[in-house]
């Protein structure tokens, strides 16, 4: 997002939210919320009856007027909560909208550079446009030709440009972002109105919000409770007539509205919107509320090793020469082979040789050396200097180059297996060292000079700091972590043990990933993963929570149900936390709302029946001043508690990564027991104020 206002109540939002809360009184909008719709119907009917009483001359008009006023306040407060939650999204949507205004596109008419300038909105899927340096990309698409640096700040808020190129996993571009250098040809993949930005706008505005499965179930529960209280209240007039009296309608209305779960009913949709909003602030876009909810339910997290569990780069940590070769000699050769190697691994070898053996990096040109780059075929790199050739690379490739035997297939564990034919003692030794390194989770890199094996460089995967603690937190939350890696099983096992993941999938192909997800799901588990490549798309689509990286391909972004704008796979863990927080907030406020009823009964029942049976004064445990002030205080409390809980609904209840048992214990104490006690205090306080002000 361009603007990330993090303050809960920005004053600019309150005005529009107030207006919005009045507009939302429209019954057609209210009907989506059964509890509040019931309140509205009741409020409207009592208002009509009140007007009749005003003209017919009823008694206790001031008291009735106050009750009715608070009924409407209850509704407005509920709408205010929702409007405020939506308003925060709207501010973000407006800034997004600004990026898309007045865009023009250079639509290519042939295969050459001829183009016509057309409005961005008229582009159709399949059109190919030319985007040059300084141009805005007119719509979502895929780079089909060229490489360019693109400023995606409009979407991600990150001002450093990113590279977008045809082919590979970085081919997706987003409408509204700007090409900074070079030019690209883009095939449009989204029609006007359904682009990524359009979807973002709809999401943050709440327009695309549909009720999630949990919300539907909760609404049923709340509607059911409302009906129970209809029975409880509607039967009272008959009971009263048996006792030889009658209860004013307005008192029954007050009892009914305070008993039905208005607190959670009022805040339910605000909680949902705020949950989505929290994700957006976290730079993750959920395509549906369902996905956010599913994130809280996740049982298994599939995490890619590289970038999530380990730092992207492997580092050289040790030189392991064969017998008869000194460490110094091996280090020297390895460094020479790596001088021109700009990969992080190569650089780390140069650094290690320098730090550990004092071999200073030399100048390639000065050595009259030529660099032999790494190729997928040779799987080696190195340098040729003064008639001498040094090679380093995958163990089997280097051995093959030395012995002249064919290479084993890539990625197969057979690469490390023993080949008796043409095996010399030194080859056996190199293999033994390599196996030892692999078992410890490292990557062995064999080094040879002029056809002679010198030894092995130990490249180590560096596990990210603190990741072990994160996984143990996840374990406490009951979430199983599975590391996905292309490494062989031995290496994978060692890294898995070091990082503390529960399980790993080694030598994983996209098909393996998909199969693993299906297997987990068959056991009823929910699976979350992240991915960026096109070959991740099936797995992303299959996973219950599929987080696509924004840098990824169009296919991956389409397949996932969330997009991480920062393209940080570690975020999956936080996303789970946000999902859990959403569900917890709902549960906490539901429990609070229902627990509140105890005090409300004790406020209203004695007040209501006092004219029938004065003995029931004994039930007035709060010592409320008068029947009217008791009833008024209960209904005022019922309305004000909504306002008081809006911050909690928007912020979410505090989430800690602890086990379910201690979470439940803590939350039951706060929201269950608190829900029983708070209204006793609140109603008493309001009663004191009401009687001091002589309102009743």
């Amino acid at each position: 997002m361009v603007s990330r206002t993090s303050s809960l109540f920005s004053y600019a939002l309150i005005g529009p939210a107030l207006l919005g809360s009045l507009r939302k009184l429209d019954p057609r909008a209210m009907i989506r919320n059964p509890v509040m719709f019931t309140v509205e119907v009741v409020a409207a009917l009592t208002t009509l009856l009140f007007l009749r009483d005003v003209f017919a001359g009823g008694s206790d008009l001031l008291f009735s007027a106050q009750i009715i006023l608070w009924l409407w306040f209850t509704l407005i407060f509920a709408n205010f909560a929702e409007a405020l939650a939506e308003g925060r999204g709207k501010a973000q949507a407006d800034s997004l909208r600004r990026t898309r205004t007045e865009m023009t596109a250079k639509r290519l008419t042939g295969t050459g550079r001829d183009y016509e300038t057309v409005p961005g909105a008229s582009l159709k899927v399949g059109d190919v446009v030319l985007v040059e340096a300084g141009d805005l990309i007119p719509s979502d698409g895929e780079v089909i030709q060229g490489v360019a640096s693109v400023n995606e700040a409009a979407i991600t808020g990150e001002s450093a440009p990113v590279i977008r190129e045809s082919g590979g996993d970085r081919s997706a571009v987003t409408g509204g972002t700007q090409v900074i250098s070079d030019e690209i040809r883009v095939r449009i993949t989204a029609a006007a109105g359904s682009t990524f930005v359009d979807r973002m706008i709809a999401l943050v505005e709440g327009a695309a919000r549909q009720k999630t499965p949990n919300e539907i179930a909760l609404n049923i529960l709340l509607a059911g409770l409302t009906i129970v209280f209809v029975f409880a209240v509607a039967t009272i007039p008959s009971f009263a007539s048996y006792a030889g009296g009658s209860i004013p309608l307005i008192v029954l209305v007050a009892l009914f509205v305070t008993l039905i779960p208005t607190t959670i009913g009022a805040l339910l949709s605000a909680i949902g919107i705020a949950g989505m909003d929290r994700l957006v602030r976290f730079n993750v876009l959920a395509m549906s509320g369902r996905a956010v909810e599913a994130a809280g339910d996740v049982d298994t997290l599939l995490l890619d090793k590289t970038g999530t569990i380990t730092l992207g780069n492997r580092q050289a940590t040790e030189f392991r020469p064969v017998r008869g070769v000194s460490e110094q000699e091996l280090a020297d050769a390895a460094q020479l082979a790596s001088l021109a190697d700009e990969t992080p691994e190569g650089r780390s070898i140069v650094v290690l040789a320098k730090e550990k053996y004092g071999i200073r990096a030399r100048d390639m040109a000065g050595l009259n050396a030529t660099f032999v780059p790494f190729t997928a075929q040779s799987r080696m790199s190195g340098a040729d200097l003064d008639g001498s050739s040094i090679r380093k690379g995958a163990v089997d490739s280097v051995i093959a180059s030395v012995t002249g035997q064919p290479m084993a297939t890539r990625g197969s564990s057979a690469a490390l297996a023993y080949h008796p034919a043409a095996e010399t003692e030194v080859v056996g030794e190199v293999r033994a060292i390599a196996e030892e390194i692999a078992k410890a989770g490292g990557t062995p890199l064999a080094v040879a000079r002029d056809g002679r094996l010198l030894g092995v460089v130990y490249l180590k995967d560096i596990v990210k700091g603190g990741i072990r603690e994160r996984f143990s937190e996840l374990r406490q939350m009951g979430i199983r972590t599975v590391m996905i890696t292309g490494d062989n099983p031995m290496t994978a096992a060692a890294i898995a043990a070091e990082a503390g993941v529960d399980d790993f999938l080694a030598q994983a192909t996209p098909e393996d990933k998909l199969a693993l997800i299906r297997k987990e799901q068959a056991q009823g588990k929910l699976v979350a993963m992240c991915g960026d490549g096109t070959n991740d798309a099936p797995a992303l689509a299959q996973a219950d929570v599929g987080v696509a990286m924004n840098t990824g391909t169009v296919a991956a972004r389409e397949a996932g149900n969330m997009v991480d704008l920062d393209s940080d796979p570690t975020k999956l863990i936080e996303i789970v936390g946000i999902g859990k927080q959403l569900l917890m907030t709902r549960g906490a406020l539901t429990t609070f709302s229902i627990a509140n009823d105890v005090a409300k009964y004790f406020a209203i029942i004695p007040a209501m029946f006092l004219t029938l049976y004065p003995q029931l004064q004994a039930l007035n445990v709060m010592g409320l001043a008068s029947p009217q002030s008791a009833i008024l205080s209960a209904i005022i409390f019922n309305a004000l508690i909504i306002i008081a809980l809006i911050p909690l609904a928007l912020k979410g209840v505090t989430y800690r990564a602890v086990g379910a048992a201690s979470l439940l214990w803590r939350n039951l104490l706060i929201y269950g027991l608190g829900g029983i006690l708070v209204p006793f205090v609140g109603i008493k306080a309001i009663d004191l104020a009401v009687s001091a002000l002589h309102l009743a």
Partner: protein, 571 residues
């Protein structure tokens, strides 16, 4: 309150707890069709019965099939019973020449027995022929009890099974329950009761000459066998009009104790069956613990209220406990405990007049029923009623652990919540709705014997007892009128089937779901925290609904009594 009284209560709890595990073990095996001690004798009988009825014991039903079989069985049972009652003057075994039962009373009585309620608006020996008694009492006492257990088993299977389409076979469950569980236990209990001095004879009434030389006819009959199923099956319909207060129906303190244990025995054991079937006995104990907490709270209040006695009499210088309407043989604790037990389970047998209890002492039985007979409850019915509340409780608070609520590895979703709420809704609708109707109609107001709050309590108790399928009467209410016969009958039907059918639907929908393995993130449902939560939700969701009505009945009566005020007796 005396030490002996508390010891009796403690012994009672210990006996029920001690029986739960072995009975649960036995019943779990029976319903799985596994070999038990009685198999050599009963398996051939069971097979013969299936052959006779053309039932394939291996064929299981989905929830709908199970429900339809149950409904068909009940409709048939109802029609048969109704026909017998209406035509008893034309049928054999009517030596006393009883006339046909009136349509409304026949409806009420037939409903009462089919729904395991055993509400008695008829006057036993003065209305019914032997045939009616046998078909009404004996037949339905067994089958309505077996039905309750069968349905609980269907729901238990819903929780226990993973991705299954079926929940069992109604016919097999019904047969096995009757054959392996109810009949053998009844034989044992009946023999014990005979040993305690209860008559068991098909011979004629006994003629006796009193000290004054007056001839007296003493009614006897096959009492022990009837009482055994009345207690074990939580039916409650007495052989004699005085029910368990009659010396022949409850001869000794020991028989009183054993009968109370018998009321709870199968209901408590069902929680153990549940635990075993879901693979974790602790789950069953947790449910039983929640029941136990509410039971003990009710017992303490009733025992205290009855021991404290009537505040009005105390004020007049007549201290001591309330013994009005109680058998001196059982005393305050034996009567108070019995009252709580019989209303906690949906038995309805009485050994004292609940009407004559103190206001608060009489309120506890009412609350027990208003919660939906889930404190141990009717055999089977208590468990499925409780599980419905578990679903509500889990859904209310389960979200607080940050996951879609789960119970025993089954996700609780919209469908389960919908069905659970349907079941929860029907009881207050029947209990409060009909009470409201009765309190504003002349026909309804003609019922109660007392004026003021106590009369209100009599009406409320009647509809509460009917809808909860308890069948105990507060007394004082003249229920045999077209108004009460019809409304009470309707209340019983809704109270039974509008809980059963949603519970079955839940069973079906749960059975189809995969069982999720428990993890550290799963809501723990076997500890004290869950028990507390469950009790809290039951009291707030199930109990508070009745607070206004209780305030106008027993509560105001209590406060008025404490202030020395009484209400004039009227219509």
């Amino acid at each position: 309150m005396t030490l002996l009284g508390w010891i009796q209560i403690a012994l009672f709890c210990a006996a029920v707890l001690a029986l739960a595990k072995p009975l649960g073990f036995y019943m779990a095996r029976v319903f799985d069709g596994e070999r038990t001690l009685l198999s050599p004798v009963l398996v051939p009988v069971e097979r013969a019965l299936y052959r006779l009825a053309g039932i394939d014991a291996r064929h299981e039903q989905g929830w709908l099939g199970y429900g339809l079989a149950m409904l068909a069985f009940h409709v048939l049972g109802f029609v048969l019973l109704y026909a017998v009652l209406r035509l008893q003057d034309l049928l054999p075994l009517n030596p006393a020449g009883q006339g046909a039962v009136a349509p409304d009373l026949a409806f009420n009585t037939a409903t009462s027995f089919v729904t395991n309620t055993n509400w008695q608006n008829y006057g036993g020996e003065s209305t019914l022929s032997y045939l009616s008694q046998m078909l009404g009492l004996t037949h339905q006492n067994f089958l309505s009890a077996a039905t309750g257990i069968a349905l609980a088993m269907a729901l238990v299977r819903g929780f226990a099974r993973s991705s299954a389409k079926t929940v069992g076979s109604f016919w097999v469950d019904l047969t096995r329950c009757t054959l392996y569980v109810l009949l053998p236990l009844c034989v044992i209990l009946a023999l014990f009761l005979v040993f305690q001095g209860m008559p068991q004879t098909l011979g004629p009434y006994v003629e006796a000459t009193t000290l004054e030389g007056v001839k007296q006819t003493i009614a006897v009959g096959p009492v022990a066998s009837q009482v055994a199923i009345k207690m074990l099956g939580t039916n409650g319909g007495g052989f004699f009009n005085a029910n368990a207060a009659h010396p022949f129906e409850n001869p000794t303190a020991l028989s009183n104790f054993v009968q109370m244990v018998a009321i709870f025995a199968l209901g408590a054991a069902m929680t153990n069956v549940f635990g075993r079937k879901v693979g974790d006995e602790r789950q069953g104990w947790a449910i039983l613990a929640a029941m136990g907490v509410m039971f003990l709270a009710g017992t303490v209040v009733t025992y205290w209220a009855e021991s404290a006695g009537s505040p009005v009499l105390n004020a007049l210088g007549l201290p001591g406990g309330n013994l009005e309407g109680k058998e001196i043989r059982f005393g305050i604790v034996g009567s108070a405990l019995f009252a709580v037990v019989t209303t906690a389970a949906s038995c309805g047998a009485v050994n004292a007049m609940h009407d004559a209890f103190t206001a608060l002492g009489g309120m506890i039985p009412m609350i027990n029923m208003q919660l939906g007979e889930i404190i141990v409850g009717g055999v089977g019915a208590g468990l499925y009623g409780m599980l419905v509340f578990v679903i509500v409780a889990i859904f209310v608070a389960g979200l607080m652990v940050g996951r879609t609520p789960e119970y025993l590895g089954k996700k609780i979703e919209a469908r389960e919540v919908k069905m659970a709420m349907l079941a929860v809704l029907c009881l207050p609708l029947m209990m409060l709705g009909f009470t409201a109707l009765a309190t504003v109609t002349a026909a309804g107001l003609a019922g109660p014997a007392n004026a003021g709050p106590h009369g209100f309590s009599e009406i409320l108790y009647a509809f509460t007892s009917a809808a909860a399928n308890n069948g105990s009467a507060f007394g004082g209410l003249s229920g045999n009128t077209p108004f009460y016969n019809t409304t009470l009958g309707f209340g019983m039907l809704v109270g039974r089937f509008f809980v059963i059918i949603p519970a079955l639907a839940i069973a079906g929908s749960l059975a189809g779901k995969a069982v999720l393995p428990a993890s550290a993130g799963t809501f723990p449902t076997h500890g004290g925290l869950f028990v507390g939560l469950l009790v809290g939700v039951i009291l707030i969701v199930g109990g508070l609904t009745f607070f206004p009505s209780l305030a106008l009945g027993p509560i105001v009566e209590h406060f008025a009594g404490s202030a020395g005020q009484t209400f004039a007796t009227g219509g």
